[in-house]
């Protein structure tokens, strides 16, 4: 069974001297330069600001001149970390981030896979295309618009769903205003927005599976489900693993606009996540040092998750990210 589409039995790539490689493929390297510059300017250069987490931020000072964080006139570089971890609101944000992201992973991650599998089984070409296009559409809506749609559909007094419920003699359900209901609204809207778009990668992977395998299976008497189980799923397994690793790396991250647009005053205890906490504390209340510390913590945990997921998947015989 091939591990990789480009894997050819017995082939060993010859090592090439760096200079030869440069000479031969200089156009490619030149093209590569652009993303490298982008990453240096926008991803690596800003990293120097991590130091703010260990300093007392001053508005009029250059980054390097700012004094180290002090408590009671003594240098205490972990002051902001201690402060963050003793902040109850940060705890809530941390728990919520993990809960929401885990739920998203459990419910949102399999959805595009299932959709891709189902779509793959459709034989009517035109119908398949229409379904696909419609499923992609929500991906292009911003979260602000999605929340407006949610309000139009689910608001207790003016939402369509609740009006229908009322007409059937059922009391309005507060989908958005009760924290527990809100979590499910949030998760399901997330699934709705993303399952179509997320399925593209899987569909591409499925398209790469050798059709002869299906033919052979048919000869052996395998039905649709057997084929799906024994050919399609194993065929896209490595794609699934890579995406799962990346999803685990983002377990403490998350989409700022999704949370910010969807939350309201009544559900903050379940809806406040780290990214919105950082925005409110850092940018709105000017606590740059505190929120840089939180951001740093978030990134470090993210990297740990990413590395361990990668390690695990390699241990289990999968390809991993690198």
């Amino acid at each position: 069974m091939s591990k990789d589409a480009n894997y050819i039995e017995g082939y060993k790539p010859r090592r090439m001297a760096v200079t030869t490689a440069f000479k031969k493929y200089w156009q490619l390297y030149l093209l590569l330069l652009l993303p490298v510059i982008y990453f240096i300017i926008f991803r690596y250069k800003p990293m120097e600001f991590i130091i703010v987490a260990f300093k007392d931020y001053k508005l009029n000072m250059n980054l390097w001149d700012m004094p180290w964080a002090t408590t009671k006139k003594e240098v205490d570089i972990f002051k902001w970390f201690v402060k963050a971890f003793s902040d109850k609101n940060f705890h809530t944000a941390l728990t919520n981030t993990i809960t929401l992201n885990l739920l998203d992973l459990i419910i949102g991650f399999p959805a595009p896979i299932i959709f891709a599998l189902v779509l793959n089984e459709l034989t009517a070409k035109r119908y398949k295309k229409v379904v696909q296009t419609i499923a992609y559409m929500p991906h292009f809506l911003s979260w602000v618009i999605i929340y407006s749609i949610a309000l139009q559909l689910l608001a207790p007094s003016s939402g369509l769903v609740n009006i229908v419920l009322n007409n059937m003699g059922i009391e309005s359900v507060d989908f958005l205003g009760k924290a527990d209901n809100w979590v499910w609204t949030y998760i399901l809207f997330g699934v709705w927005q993303n399952f179509g778009w997320g399925s593209i990668v899987y569909l591409a992977a499925i398209a790469g599976i050798n059709p002869e395998l299906y033919e052979a299976a048919a000869v052996d008497g395998a039905g649709r489900f057997k084929k799906m189980w024994h050919i399609t799923l194993p065929g896209i397994k490595s794609t699934i693993v890579v995406l799962l690793i990346m999803a685990l790396g983002g377990i403490l991250g998350g989409n700022f606009d999704r949370n910010f647009a969807m939350q309201n005053k009544l559900v903050l205890e379940k809806a406040e996540v780290i990214s919105t906490f950082v925005y409110k504390r850092g940018i709105k209340s000017l606590q740059f040092s505190l929120t840089t510390a939180v951001g740093l913590f978030q990134s470090v945990v993210g990297v740990i998750f990413l590395l361990s997921a990668n390690f695990l998947s390699r241990k289990l015989g999968e390809r991993g990210l690198w």
Partner: protein, 599 residues
């Protein structure tokens, strides 16, 4: 061939990247104009820390101060300013960047006939070139935060929130102005001293160090909020104007039960009483009626960090009543789900679905053709309108409510550390405070933007499509008259007479009545200064979020859960810093004023 093609492609990419980079700055200044404003939103939501600091004086006290004479001797000015000014002017043009709120009006906030006038005045008087930096009104604090952090803030900034300035100065981001606020400079800045007095200019002087990081603007009007009810609905149902909370509740019940009569096919859209997420503000007259009218200044001050009275005695009972109304279907069911500043509520008010509300005393009249009352006459019928009523009685039978203190509740003006032109900035502020300048900015030119009546009062001519450049940026251009908030003409008589007729497209009698109602039993909270309260720095935003959430959750809880929800939210507020602030305030009061209970 391939190589050439690849080369061209790469060059294209690189060049487009460079092009994007350089156009960045231009785009930025352009995007500043894009704002998400809701011009009818309250003027005050940002003032939640009004009482945080400042010297207490009422209008009367301020007027006791002596008239300062303008320093006219050019040589004297020359000596005073160490030669920075020659013949009263800068020898070389000084460029000043000045913040102005952008309310997304019909003309650019930084380029219209009024900014032209200001620029000309500053250039003629002091050789100062003024450049306005528009900042979206409803996200002003965020924007200024960003500009300050990027060291690109305007030279003169203002905000309603002193806790924000305190946070900036804690980070060494703000100039200490005390050097220019000495007696020596009084003559040079005579307009400032005459209008703001020491009450405004020295309001934020630190009692220990003497540093002054901001000066206080002054309100020319002190009316704050009023309760409004639909006159035509009362008439239709044969109800009298409510004069007690009970009668008010009965009106709401009548609105709810007669939705069919009042709204016909739209009966399901009936909202007897509307609220918004800033519920403390939007229920202010109700909450204040539950507070003790004889409350001591000390108690008021200790609980006063939150301008929405969240921790005051009595507030809980007021919210309990709102909670009852909510559960009886008298309050808009969905109010808490909309974001701050959402236009949905305003649209419902204009469309005529709303029966009553509490808001700034002039909300139904603001914005000419877009005003709520004018829209009602257009969309519902000529008799449809909101009228102000005094309806929530306090325990003494009066209508206890708080007015804006003239000093202490307006904008605070500060100069970031990046401003090395403090003298020029003060001269600009002095110019913008000139009564003649204020008069022009509030009225414009006779015959074009206003006409004079025989009794001296003025009629504002609303700018139409042909005169867009005449459009004012904000009511009375208060965004340009940084030190003066509210109508303040050269002739005090005319000011009073003009007030009610200065709102275009609405009935002046309704405005006059709203002013009367907002003024009835209105009290000034003393503006207490007992030194800096350290615990307050940087918490303004966090606490007002928690307070808003607390109000919203308590109002929307089921009646059985009310106690638990209220207590939980209050606990959260207190542990997040509310208690620390109250403790420090109590301590500071004790330290400075001892056993006194009144300021």
């Amino acid at each position: 061939m391939k190589k050439v093609l690849a080369m061209i492609l790469v060059l294209c990419l690189v060049l487009s990247l460079c092009a994007c980079g350089s156009s960045d700055t231009e785009e930025k200044s352009g995007s500043d104009n894009q704002t998400t404003t809701d011009t009818k939103k309250e003027e005050a939501p940002k003032t939640n820390t009004d009482n945080a600091s400042g010297v207490g004086t009422t209008l009367a006290q301020a007027e006791d101060e002596e008239e300062v004479l303008v320093m006219e001797d050019k040589d004297e000015i020359n000596i005073l300013t160490n030669g920075a000014l020659v013949d009263g002017k800068f020898p070389e043009t000084v460029t000043l960047k000045v913040e102005c709120y952008d309310r997304d009006g019909d003309t650019p906030a930084n380029d219209n006939m009024y900014t032209d006038y200001i620029k000309k005045q500053a250039l003629d008087r002091y050789n100062i070139a003024v450049e306005y930096v528009p900042v979206p009104r409803w996200t002003e604090v965020d924007q200024i935060n960003n500009l300050l952090a990027a060291q690109e803030a305007p030279d003169i900034c203002y905000t309603y929130d002193y806790a924000t300035i305190q946070a900036y100065s804690d980070m060494d981001g703000v100039n200490d102005l005390s050097e220019y606020l000495t007696d020596d400079y009084k003559g040079l800045f005579a307009n400032l001293w005459n209008w703001l007095g020491s009450a405004g200019l020295l309001a934020h002087r630190d009692p220990d160090t003497g540093a002054i990081y901001a000066i206080e603007g002054k309100r020319a009007e002190y009316y704050r909020t009023a309760t409004f009810i639909r006159q035509d609905w009362l008439d239709k149902l044969g109800l009298a104007k409510p004069t007690t909370a009970e009668e008010f509740e009965n009106c709401l019940i009548a609105f709810r039960d007669n939705a069919e009569t009042l709204l016909g096919a739209d009966a399901s859209k009936m909202v007897p009483f509307s609220l918004a997420t800033d519920a403390g503000w939007r229920a202010s007259t109700l909450i204040e009626s539950f507070m003790d009218p004889d409350i001591t200044d000390k108690e008021l001050y200790i609980n006063g960090f939150d301008e929405r009275h969240y921790t005051q005695n009595g507030t809980k009972d007021a919210v309990k009543l709102l909670n009852k109304w909510y559960n009886e279907g008298l309050i808009w069911k969905d109010f808490a789900l909309y974001a701050d500043g959402d236009a949905t509520e305003g649209d419902m008010q204009k469309a005529g679905y709303v029966g009553a509300m509490i808001c700034n005393y002039d909300i139904p009249f603001r914005d000419g053709e877009n005003s709520i009352n004018y829209q009602l006459t257009q969309l519902v019928g000529p008799e449809a309108k909101f009228v102000a009523v005094d309806t929530f009685k306090d325990k003494n039978g009066g209508y206890n409510k708080y007015a804006y203190t003239t000093t202490g509740s307006d904008r605070k003006i500060f100069m970031p550390k990046t401003n090395d032109k403090v003298l020029a900035s003060f001269l600009f502020l002095n110019m913008i405070t000139d009564p003649e300048v204020i008069n022009y900015l509030q009225l414009g030119e006779e015959g074009i933007t206003y006409t004079k009546n025989a009794d001296g009062s003025v009629n504002i001519i609303a700018a139409d499509a042909d005169h867009v450049a005449n459009t004012i940026n904000s009511q009375y251009n208060i965004d340009y008259t940084m030190t003066c908030n509210g109508l303040h003409l050269l002739d005090p008589e005319a000011t009073i007479k003009s007030k009610a007729i200065s709102y275009a497209n609405v009935d002046p009698a309704d405005v006059a009545e709203a002013i009367r109602v907002a003024d009835t039993d209105a009290k000034f909270a003393p503006v207490v200064n007992v030194g800096v309260i350290e615990a307050e720095a940087g918490l303004g935003n966090t606490l007002s979020e928690l307070r808003n959430a607390g109000y919203c959750k308590s109002i929307t809880a089921s009646e059985a859960d009310f106690e638990t929800v209220w207590n939980d939210c209050m606990n959260q507020y207190l542990t997040a810093g509310g208690q620390a602030i109250m403790d420090e305030r109590a301590e500071a009061w004790q330290r400075v004023l001892g056993d006194k209970t009144m300021y």
